[in-house]
């Protein structure tokens, strides 16, 4: 999505470290693959450790280069996570809308991020596998890999109501989206919304791991509030298209 739009005059470009968290097999890697390569694999192999990818996102006023850290979801790998979300400016906490427990896990991640990650971090709550929920969604029959019963072809496999997740997201001031990595629905929107929600003051040059840490503390409080405001705004704005 990025490369097509912005070939014009050089806009200010900055990189944003983004980390994906969430229970195993909710589709973190698939979301990233959809975003980065616009591709989807039915049965992706599990992520071991973590994967790293980058993708640019063009906004009207600036270009954001996402440095995406895609983590392994299995509980076992949780001890690796801190080193990935350390200094991250954005986090995608993913759950599976067909699996209620995954939202609980997502909430744990959100809590951990709020406790441990850098204070101004922009968190987006993403419910994936929307294609399994929409009766009109495409290609449901193929997806038997995750134990979705085939018979329920057009009935709703959704286990997490949009309202529940949305209410939680609002309460915690998170961006909220429901996506389908399979159909690509809302995937780009998530990243665009995150790019928009990152306050300009937090942005740094294309590379600056060292400076990144020092940047935070001064304007943090103020940044945090601003992020939240922006987040609420975009989340509200997006409702039109998401639901």
């Amino acid at each position: 999505m990025a490369d097509s739009t912005g070939a014009a005059a050089p806009k200010p470009s900055s990189s944003v470290k983004l980390v994906l968290l969430g229970e195993a097999a909710v589709g973190k890697s698939s979301l990233v693959m959809r975003f980065v390569n616009n591709d989807f694999q039915e049965n992706k192999e599990p992520t071991i450790g973590a994967a790293f990818l980058t993708q640019k996102c063009n906004l009207p006023t600036r270009t954001i280069k996402f440095e995406i850290w895609d983590t392994a979801g299995q509980e076992r790998f949780a001890s690796l996570a801190p080193m990935y979300y350390r200094n991250a400016q954005a986090a995608l906490v993913v759950y599976d809308i067909t699996k209620a427990s995954s939202l609980t896990k997502a909430q744990h991640w959100v809590a951990e991020l709020q406790r441990q990650a850098s204070p101004g971090i922009v968190i987006a709550l993403v419910g994936n596998k929307l294609d399994l929920a929409n009766a009109g969604g495409a290609g449901e029959s193929e997806d038997d890999a995750d134990g979705v019963p085939d018979e329920e072809g057009d009935s709703d496999a959704r286990k997490v109501p949009t309202k529940t997740a949305k209410a939680y997201a609002d309460e915690e001031s998170l961006l909220f989206f429901e996506t389908s990595a399979k159909t690509g629905m809302n995937v780009a929107e998530v990243f665009t919304a995150i790019a928009n929600a990152i306050p300009e003051t937090q942005l740094k040059g294309p590379r600056g791991v060292g400076g990144q840490t020092t940047l935070g503390s001064g304007g943090q409080q103020q940044d945090a509030s601003r992020v939240n405001l922006a987040g609420a705004g975009t989340a509200g704005a997006k409702e039109g298209c998401a639901c």
Partner: protein, 850 residues
């Protein structure tokens, strides 16, 4: 998903064996071998064969290499060779005597003593004969032979020990058996039993084969195939296998003494012919490249050092200790020959454990329909500590077999009742109600388990499918079920670890080389003995440790690269995690991974993986240094690191070697990799144990400091929280005080204002008071004077009044005198009146009288 039944396995094995045998014999007429078998002096025959092989092999090699012709031969010959194979297999575990060192007469006595054994060498064993042997040679408990739940149990007892740990004593034991008495043989039930079972199940001796037997086999085939020794060679081998199956020691001596010249020369000569065979075992390029690079091997280090492998197989890891590391390294660097790789791996890891294989089958069956019949043997891990599980079981088993009657010994059942609910109950001690309770408990647990197993299965399945890079390959080999089985069984076997992503990758290369039960035991051994387990337990301490070691070693070996990566934020955690968690199997081509496993199993996990990691980094140092972008670096580190070992101009030989992958893997491995170079590079990396230990200590220290720091941080955080709360409290208090103060102040102001007005009022009052005082002061005089004046007035009036009064009194006196005068007048008058009246009355009475 369904575990293979033993029967299935047997048939598989049979096919394999047939194939091997065919291959071994391909290109040479098999028949001449048979007559020579009769010769009692096997060794002499062997020598002759070697000579023959030496003479013939050059001509025959080309023939052998042609796969097509080989196949043809195979087809024609298979029935015959199959028979032979099964025969020799049946023979293998018998306590036979090495032909060479024994004098002829003692050998014949051996023959007599083992009369039941020898016939099968010549003929397929008639079913009746072995039975007879059973009764004459040793009377093992009949229960043994039937597939009782304990068959795995008792069987296991002596076999691993004898095959792996102490073969020399075994050999001597076997010797004494032959010369001494049948009773001795009988006392060693396992031997007798093994023989019997093998005879009985000569077509499916799968479980009965010791690794040694298999090795012998494979070696024979390899050597036959490689050197294309004349057919005479094979009978020797077969006979060796038949007779020396249990005396590996002397057999190996025999080879050392006689066979090697031929074999070595043969291999030296033909080593350049890379393609030894396309076997069912997926043949890599074992050792070919190194053979080329090393040139015709010196006497001490032949390209494929069969003797070394043989001693490894026969003596177990002890051989490794004895072998100079140089030699072993060279051997490993050359690659374990593919055909025996599975066997050697198991020997290196000391993993062969039939009891555990039984456990595996039961675990796999758990939660499926097939569970019931196996119910008597649930996991041991549930009742015994994971690490102690096997040992405990071994001790149980051996105690059972040392006491001859098997299932009734208290030792067995007492121990078994803990872990084997289905064992004979009487010794349970708790009586029927205890059993009932146990059953109740079991039922309840079974229900809970069923749910968790279903969940586990789902989780594991999700990670199989087409999700792995070897998946196509794996599926084509029909190993998906095995992979699933291993993951599931291990998760059930080791509760504390369960199933972790990454295990599936580790298990895959194992499955390519051995049946799933053995792969499972090897997997368990990797976890335990090789400390792989630490990498998968909670918080993965082992992983973090190794990552630290790796990053420190990288600093040591290439400071520039280390700092280059560090500057760009590419930490080992990002790319090396998968190396450790999957032993390189996550992304690396199988050709390389198998070689990694070779080294891992022979050298230990830690140093092997670290060596490979460092070797890869150094190999790619320049490429990495040239990259500045983090994304490029990480991609390269994860996906392209092994490309440095692509054989850009693969020789025809290595192409052939990897041919199997090229075709069967469905294009997974398109390239040919110079695995030997990789292994050599890795072996060239010298990492001393001290360094590793030092870094481990360092890591622990760091970890401790980190933990302390975290704890301190946590402490500080909580104290900050407490203080914040206190501050807030104080703030509230001060606010309250401030409010109070404001209230007071305003009150003061109000009071002051009131005060002001009051004092004004006071002033006014005071002046008024003074005025009043003045008035008061003046008042008495006035009053006095007025009083006096009034007094005087009153006095005067009094005087006046007094005078008036006196006047009045005088007047009154006058009046009283008047009154008295009047009254006197009145009385006078009255008396006058009375006199007059009397006169009147006298007159009137005179008148009237008149």
């Amino acid at each position: 998903m369904d575990p293979k039944t033993p029967g299935d396995n047997n048939s598989d094995r049979d096919e394999t064996l047939i194939f091997f045998n065919n291959r071994a014999r391909s290109g040479s007429p098999p028949l001449p071998a048979l007559p020579k078998r009769d010769s009692k002096d096997g060794e002499a025959v062997g020598d002759g064969e070697e000579e023959a092989a030496l003479g013939k092999s050059p001509l025959l090699t080309s023939h052998r290499i042609s796969v097509g012709s080989m196949d043809d031969v195979n087809l024609e010959e298979s029935p015959n060779s199959q028979k032979r194979r099964s025969r020799s297999l049946a023979q293998v575990p018998t306590p036979a005597q090495p032909p060479k060192p024994v004098p002829k007469d003692s050998f014949s006595s051996l023959q007599r003593g083992l009369s039941g054994i020898l016939p099968p060498v010549k003929f397929p064993p008639p079913p009746a004969a072995p039975e007879k042997t059973t009764t004459t040679v040793s009377p093992p408990p009949p229960a043994r032979k039937t597939a009782s739940p304990f068959s795995w149990f008792s069987r296991q007892s002596s076999e691993p020990k004898k095959t792996v740990t102490s073969p020399p004593s075994m050999a001597s034991h076997g010797r004494s058996n032959t010369t001494a008495s049948l009773a001795t043989i009988g006392s060693n039930q396992e031997l007798a039993l093994g023989k019997i079972d093998d005879v009985d199940e000569s077509h499916g001796p799968r479980q009965r084969n010791s690794l040694k037997d298999r090795f012998k086999f494979l070696r024979m085939q390899e050597e036959a195939g490689m050197a294309l020794v004349d057919d005479d060679h094979e009978p020797n081998g077969v006979q060796g296998g038949a007779l020396a199956g249990l005396i590996g020691r002397s057999a190996s001596v025999g080879f050392d003494g006689h066979a090697p010249p031929a074999a070595r020369r043969a291999s030296g000569t033909y080593f350049e012919k890379p393609m030894r065979q396309p076997s069912i075992n997926h043949n890599l390029a074992p050792g070919t490249a190194s053979g080329i690079s090393a040139g015709p091997a010196s006497e001490s280090a032949p390209p494929v050092d069969w003797d070394l492998w043989q001693s490894v197989v026969y003596e177990g890891p002890a051989a490794i200790a004895m072998t100079s590391s140089e030699e072993l390294n060279r051997a490993i660097a050359g690659g374990i020959p593919q055909a025996i790789r599975g066997v050697v791996w198991q020997v290196l890891a000391e993993s062969k454990n039939e009891a555990l294989e039984g456990v595996y089958r039961d675990l796999v069956a758990r939660g499926t329909d097939k569970e019931r019949p196996h119910m008597p043997i649930p996991t041991l891990s549930e009742t015994s500590a994971v690490n102690g599980g096997i040992k405990e079981k071994e001790s149980i088993a051996s105690s059972a077999s040392s006491i001859h009657s098997d299932h009734s010994t208290p030792a067995t059942s007492a121990n078994a009742s803990v872990s084997l609910p289905g064992s004979p109950p009487p010794q349970d001690g708790s009586g029927p109600e205890g059993m009932a309770k146990l059953a109740e408990e079991r039922k309840r647990r079974a229900k809970e388990e069923a749910a968790s197993i279903a969940k586990l299965e789902k989780t594991i399945k999700r990670d199989l499918g087409a999700r792995t890079s070897y998946s196509k390959y794996l599926m084509s080999a029909g190993l998906q079920d095995g992979l699933f089985g291993i993951c599931k069984a291990y998760a059930l076997y080791d509760d504390a670890v369960g199933y972790a992503q990454g295990m599936n990758f580790i298990a895959m290369p194992l499955l390519f080389n051995m049946p799933e039960e053995e792969a499972f035991t090897l997997f368990v051994q990797l976890m335990r003995k090789y400390n792989l387990r630490d990498l998968f337990t909670r918080d993965m301490p082992g992983l973090h440790l190794h990552l630290h070691q790796f990053s420190r070693l990288l600093e040591d070996f290439s400071p520039a690269l280390a700092s280059h990566l560090h500057r760009r934020g590419v930490s080992p955690q990002l790319y090396a995690t998968q190396w450790f968690l999957t032993l390189f199997a996550y992304r690396f081509p199988l050709q390389l991974v198998l070689r990694v496993y070779d080294l891992v199993l022979s050298e230990g996990l830690e140093s092997a993986v670290l060596k490979f990691g460092i070797a890869l980094m150094l190999k790619n140092e320049d490429a990495l240094m040239a990259m500045g972008d983090m994304a490029a670096l990480t991609t390269f580190l994860k996906e392209r690191l092994f490309d440095a070992y692509i054989d850009k101009a693969p020789s025809a030989s290595s192409l052939l070697d990897s041919g199997f992958f090229g075709s069967a893997a469905g294009g997974v491995d398109k390239e040919v990799y110079r695995a030997d170079v990789l292994v050599r590079d890795a072996c060239a990396i010298k990492i001393s144990q001290e360094t590793l230990r030092a870094y481990a200590a360092e890591w622990r220290e760091l970890n401790r400091v980190e933990k302390e720091r975290e704890a301190e941080l946590e402490g500080l955080r909580s104290s900050v929280a407490a203080l914040t709360a206190k501050v807030r409290h104080l703030e509230e208090e001060s606010e309250r005080h401030a409010r109070e103060h404001v209230g007071l102040a305003s009150e003061v102001v109000r009071t002051k204002i009131a005060n002001e007005s009051l004092s004004d009022e006071n002033e006014v009052l005071r002046t008024r008071v003074s005025e009043l005082e003045k008035i008061v002061e003046k008042q008495p005089e006035e009053v006095e004077s007025r009083l006096r004046e009034e007094m005087e007035g009153v006095m005067q009036r009094n005087i006046v009044v007094h005078n008036e009064n006196r006047a009045l009194e005088e007047q009154l006196g006058d009046m009283e005198r008047v009154l008295v005068e009047t009254k006197m007048d009145y009385a006078q008058l009255n008396a006058d009146h009375e006199t007059l009246k009397q006169k009147w009355n006298n007159i009137s009475a005179m008148l009237n009288s008149q």
